[in-house]
């Protein structure tokens, strides 16, 4: 461990109030760091809520909380995790920090708009949390806010949906900013086909954010109008249609799943070649599949509604499209595996997290086929099977993608390295824990256990207990991982510019990168996975440690 005085890069104080210079910064790296910290804080809140739910479900009947509390907590867990953690996670935090760096730009296209997006995020999150403590109490509708229940619930639904409305604008503006940045700010020689896959994934994501999020905003606005002005848009008693709400909600919320997963896929596509010392297999196919997912993913929303009472023809069409969207995801997995084939693999922690992503995402993805198939969905829809499915995809997928990003870019951000052995162990514990936590849910769902149940029949007890044990293992893995990173920030071994030997532009900068990014505008002459002449600095470290 070295205490050499390091160049603090963009962390260096500018003089003046430290709080003010961070809160009102327009530096994309600082904004990204603000997002990252905020997201991690909300993430720990969401994790604690999830653990409380699992504890309540440890035994049938009341265990640690009342029925109303349970309903409010699963609603809150969903709202916090989806709107405050997963949707912004990788794009807002790592996208902000590394998109301009990977493109060779000095910042995003609209730095002040970027800061405004962050503030909308904080204000929106604040409003959503305010709904807990003000009139009526915490919303108990589930994060889906299905009408007519959300119209008649006496809890504070209006305030919560206002929070979601504001958060939506944060997402739209960030997407807009990224699209313009990618179109206009690429360095000389950075052609579209020399762009790393992470910006490509952000590009596909940004289009969904810009096109789909307004529909969410309109929908929550309609809920507010229905609740506050008493207009019957969705309420059948006043001539409205509850299914209209479900369509509008899922037209956003299904593409939102791809907002969540595409950036993680981008990160994984960037990480795997680096640690295999081999160009990505099928670069153009991966780009194509990202765009195909973004496009086809916008046409499958009603697969959440197979048993809602919509027409059987609609069920057939949406089931068909759902199966089609499975193909590009599968293609990506095959390309990642082929990248490993005949590589020279360094099993560093970011790669372990990335492979964890592939395994857990596959665990979740394949059960998507069961849910997308109309006949089988009729049985497992709205059961624990679905809960297991989306937690594997979102926590196992996006979550692991986020952790992989944190371990991959950590040395770039802090100029130090965490303890790699502990990092690898934490990855393995988390992967094991996630399986223990969510695999029993598949079995519960197949046995007919409905979701959002405070209480359950005795035949489901064993599997619920297994799942709760799994939640404890997962929590231990998370604590270990975060502690290791926290410790590494200040006390880790100092590393150079390019510890992993990566070929994208951010690794040509000092760590941490300076405020103005590049001293000279970079000129790009080759693709992002061109490793000739780049030897990972970590190789020497690993070798000397191996000698010990």
């Amino acid at each position: 461990m070295s205490d050499t005085v390091m160049d603090k890069g963009f962390f260096a104080p500018k003089g003046g109030s430290k709080i003010m210079e961070w809160l009102f910064t327009t530096d994309h790296k600082r904004i990204g760091m603000l997002y990252l910290w905020a997201i991690l804080i909300f993430f720990s809140v969401g994790v604690c809520l999830g653990l409380a739910l699992r504890l309540e479900l440890f035994a049938p009947g009341p265990t640690i909380m009342t029925q109303q509390a349970f309903n409010a907590i699963f609603t809150l867990h969903g709202v916090v995790m989806i709107f405050l953690v997963v949707i912004p996670s990788i794009p807002a935090a790592f996208g902000n920090i590394f998109l301009p760096l990977q493109l060779g730009a000095e910042d995003v296209a609209f730095p002040r708009l970027n800061m405004f997006s962050f503030w909308l995020y904080i204000v929106g999150g604040g409003i959503a949390l305010t709904s807990l403590f003000t009139a009526g109490g915490a919303p108990d509708t589930g994060w889906t806010f299905y009408v007519p229940f959300s119209s008649i619930s006496t809890t504070n639904v209006s305030v919560a949906v206002l929070g979601v409305f504001v958060l939506g604008f944060s997402s739209i503006l960030t997407g807009l900013n990224f699209i313009v940045t990618i179109h206009r700010m690429r360095a000389e020689g950075m052609t579209w086909l020399r762009m790393p896959l992470f910006p490509w994934a952000l590009y596909a994501t940004a289009w969904i954010q810009v096109l789909a999020t307004p529909i969410l905003s309109i929908t929550v606005l309609l809920i507010a109008i229905e609740r506050l002005l008493g207009m019957g848009i969705f309420d059948p008693a006043r001539g409205g249609d509850p299914l209209l709400y479900q369509h509008l909600f899922w037209i956003y919320s299904h593409p939102a799943v791809y907002i969540m997963i595409l950036p993680a896929m981008g990160v994984i596509s960037d990480i795997i070649p680096v640690f295999c010392r081999k160009p990505i297999f099928g670069y153009k196919t991966i780009i194509g599949s990202s765009l195909a997912i973004a496009f086809a993913g916008s046409l499958v929303w009603a697969h959440h509604m197979f048993v809602s009472g919509m027409s059987d023809t609609a069920v057939m069409v949406f089931s068909f499209l759902t199966f089609i969207v499975a193909v590009p995801s599968a293609v990506k997995v095959f390309n990642w595996l082929s990248t490993m084939y005949k590589g020279s693999i360094r099993p560093e922690p970011p790669l372990i997290f990335a492979l964890g992503f592939i395994f857990l995402f596959a665990m979740g993805g394949i059960t998507g086929l069961v849910l997308g198939s109309a006949g089988t969905d009729m049985h497992v829809h709205d059961t624990y099977f679905v809960v297991g499915h989306f937690h594997f995809v979102i926590f196992g997928g996006t979550g692991m993608g986020l952790f992989a990003s944190m371990h991959y870019w950590f040395p770039k951000i802090y100029g130090r390295m965490y303890n790699k052995r502990i990092a690898t162990w934490s990855a393995i514990i988390i992967i094991a824990g996630i399986n223990g936590l969510y695999f029993p849910m598949y079995l519960l769902g197949l046995a007919g256990m409905p979701r959002r149940y405070y209480d359950y029949l005795p035949q489901y007890t064993d599997l619920h207990q297994l799942s709760t044990y799994g939640s404890w293992i997962t929590a231990m893995g998370l604590v270990l991982m975060f502690w290791n990173l926290w410790h590494g920030r200040k006390h880790g071994r100092v590393v150079g510019k390019n510890p992993w030997g990566a070929a994208t532009l951010e690794w040509t900068l000092p760590s941490p990168p300076p405020t103005h990014n590049f001293d000279e505008d970079p000129i790009v002459t080759h693709g992002p996975y061109h490793y000739d002449g780049l030897i990972p600095e970590e190789d020497a470290v690993n070798e000397s440690e191996g000698d010990k």
Partner: protein, 414 residues
């Protein structure tokens, strides 16, 4: 897998096996390949990476092949769905109503129940409707699930090939007691089902009502209670078959079982077999009460009808309606409150504060108030509660009368 009793769901289970089998196969192949590459191409064994940027044909194969496979899987799933959705002609119709947080099943002859009774091997067309929010009718053993959407008519069909009892769940989150919205599907042999369907709860209810009315008429409840508490006389609920230590007029003590003879004697000539510990205060009803009426009371207390067949439950017939209509999910009968609605106990005749058009008003909970509250729940909301009860303006007169009489039987701060 979980037991399965629905012939049309055989295809669904087959689709499960095919899709899950294929999925697990892919998962295993991907995982093994990943771990094998991780070991085989570790930097120790593979110091230099090969320069492979792609392979056109490999990519064509793993795009086209999965496409064909998933289309096959789609078709498997869709055709199994189709079978579940094609309702056979002539299926027996049952109306299924969901509301927070209970079920009501209405059969062709107008009989209602809280549990779904079905004859074995007979297709049932379930016509689904909801009174308040969206619910979902789910029978895991049938692989059947369909939403009940307010303002929309949906339907689904079931048919069981096995006699037995199976869980019915609500699968669409519907508020506070969503998890309590569960009931049973009772599949009976055809003749048992018919007997159940024909066995009219009304005649049974009539006898109970008559017994109750007679006891009220003759003032039995002035001294006896029916809830186990002592008044000036011993409580009468659950008396059938109880051992009693009685004192004969000569002072001798004897233990006997409370049978019809004993109960009748106690009514007609209470002093003849006095329960130990109580004073001989009750007047003899001999001559006052006809023999026939006495028998009705005895039968009521013993929980049997005239032919000696036991009642299904010794309860007020209105309680049946209260259960079937789901009243007891929010209203209690013991004076406690769920926080969502006032208790029925002590409601009748009490003075309560209600809000009407945002104006507070005091009134006495009389028959008319109870009737209006059932039919137009939003009109008179009791102070301290929110307007969350759906209006029940479609109940027939008999049900409403039954409910009112039931609430009256629990009421009366007089």
């Amino acid at each position: 897998m979980y037991p399965q009793i629905f012939s049309a769901a055989k295809d669904v289970d087959r689709a499960f096996l095919i899709i899950l089998g294929f999925s697990v196969f892919i998962l295993v192949v991907v995982t093994i390949a990943m771990l094998w590459f991780l070991w085989r191409y570790n930097v120790k064994r593979s110091p230099v990476a090969a320069d492979i940027r792609g392979n056109f044909w490999a990519e064509v194969i793993w795009t086209v092949l999965p496409t064909i496979i998933v289309l096959g899987l789609f078709w498997t799933g869709w055709s199994s769905f189709k079978a579940m959705r094609t309702i056979p002609d002539g299926a027996m119709e049952v109306l299924v109503e969901g509301r927070m947080w209970s079920w009501k099943f209405t059969y062709a002859n107008g009989k209602t129940s809280q549990e779904l009774y079905a004859p074995v091997d007979t297709p049932l067309r379930l016509k689904l409707s909801s009174r308040d929010v969206i619910h979902s009718f789910y029978v895991p053993a049938m692989r059947v699930k369909w939403d009940l959407v307010p303002g929309m008519d949906t339907e689904v069909w079931i048919q069981s090939d096995t006699v037995g009892e199976y869980d019915i769940f609500c699968a669409e989150y519907c508020g506070l007691k969503h998890a309590d919205m569960i009931t049973l599907l009772k599949v009976l042999p055809a003749e048992d089902f018919q007997a159940w369907l024909d066995g009219s709860a009304e005649t049974e209810g009539d006898e109970i009502l008559r017994g109750l009315a007679l006891m009220e008429e003759y003032g039995c409840f002035d001294c006896h209670t029916m809830d186990g508490t002592d008044d000036v006389a011993p409580p009468l609920n659950g008396i059938a078959g109880k051992e009693r230590l009685i004192i004969l007029p000569d002072g001798a003590k004897r233990t006997i079982k409370a049978d019809s003879h004993y109960i009748k004697t106690s009514i007609m000539d209470p002093g003849a077999e006095l329960v130990d510990g109580w004073d001989d205060e009750m007047p003899p009803y001999e001559g006052d009460l006809s023999d026939e009426d006495a028998n009705v009371i005895v039968n009521y207390l013993l929980g049997k009808d005239e032919s000696g067949k036991p009642f299904k439950a010794l309860e007020h017939p209105g309680l049946h309606f209260a259960k079937v209509e789901g009243c007891l999910k929010c209203h209690t009968t013991d004076g406690t409150t769920t926080g969502r609605a006032p208790s029925f106990k002590g409601l009748y005749g009490s003075t309560i504060t209600v809000r009407k058009d945002n104006k507070e008003k005091m009134l006495t909970a009389d028959e008319e108030y109870i009737r209006q509250s059932i039919k137009h729940s939003t009109k008179w909301v009791a102070e301290g509660y929110v307007d969350s009860m759906p209006p029940y303006d479609d109940l027939n007169e008999e049900t409403i009368e039954g409910l009112i009489s039931f609430i009256k039987s629990l009421g009366g701060k007089d």
